[in-house]
Amino acid sequence: MQSTFLSAFVLSVFLVGSVIGQTVTVDSLSENRAGSVSGKEHTFGIDVFKNIPYLFFANKVPLDERRMLLTNRGIVELTWRRQKRERSYQTALLGYSQVEVVSPKSVERRQNATGFYAKLGKEWSVGKGKAQSQLGLRAMMTYCRYSTELLYPGPTFGDYKSLDVVHNIGIGIDPYYALDFSLNQQWLLRWETRLAHHYRIAGKGYTPYYPGVGFSPGLYNYIISPGTTLQIHYRFHGRKAE
């Protein structure tokens, strides 16, 4: 399993590396950010995108050839960034997520997952001159409670029903690439794309959706999931106009 974990990590770094190559030319989006080094800024942000796609499906998304339905999903994510040096930042993220996974033809009829997660890391501005392209790496710790309603059909003697509750704890890394768009001197729009790697150190069972990581059907202790989202950040010590 360690070899698999390492291999997947190498693969993700490889993928992120290939993304860096595509982003050097996007610098014209916020030229006025060049003067940001005059004051060390820190920003608070909130995720404004992850719940949107589900609302288009009335929060009921069919998956796995309609054998599974993802419903009642909700995510709250708060982020914080603090500038350390001219081109590097400390970052932190706190999140809460819940989802219901309904599988009418499976033994796991309904699974209710709720979880908290914390991510800490560092990011670096990449590209020449303009500094709105960021490459980051966060370490993460997660807690996830999976409550599963089980039903084993019993046509002769009666169905067996039970509720299985599993508490999962995991650790992982979250390499990401972000593009920052300055909306004005206080507000910043961030487009972030990441590839989360997560290893469960306590708990058991399949987790089709894991809070803080994402949708990961068919994976067990080690899960990997890509994702992209938008965040709105507010600068508390914004840059000074030049």
Binding site: T4, V10, V107, Y152, P153, G154, F157, Y160, G205, Y206
Partner: protein
Amino acid sequence: MKKLVRGFFYIFTAGIAVSCYDCGPQAEPTITLSLRQDTLQTIQRISALDAKSDSAFSTLDPGSYYGTATLPVSLLQDSTTFLLYAENRVDTLTLFYKRIFDSKRECGYYVDLSAPEAGPPFKTTLNQPVQVEYSSYLGPRDFKGPSPLGIRITIGRY
């Protein structure tokens, strides 16, 4: 690069291993009941206490030397009492087992039956000898061998 190739190899091998694993029933398990020749002549029909339906109780195969029947067992308790109907009497055979509801990587959630932790494996009013063998309903499925067998009951003399 070597580690990357090795990682893909492990994933591929794990995929093969998972595909050859029998995860047992995802519903009421069944047992195999074998009746030796002497018993086969006397038992005409089988049913069970607390059964909502008799349709699952297969008829015996009188053409074979050993009559065999596949019978469902209850998941609601750790025993099932079978009713064995002969011409002028009804005998009972109560099978005891331990239900296991759990999950594992190869299967997700599963159900399995094992021998009871205490007490006898069965209780009966039959005059014939009864033999009960417990084996897991889950396990790796060999390409050459049979699937996991589960519980088998044999009634009658050799």
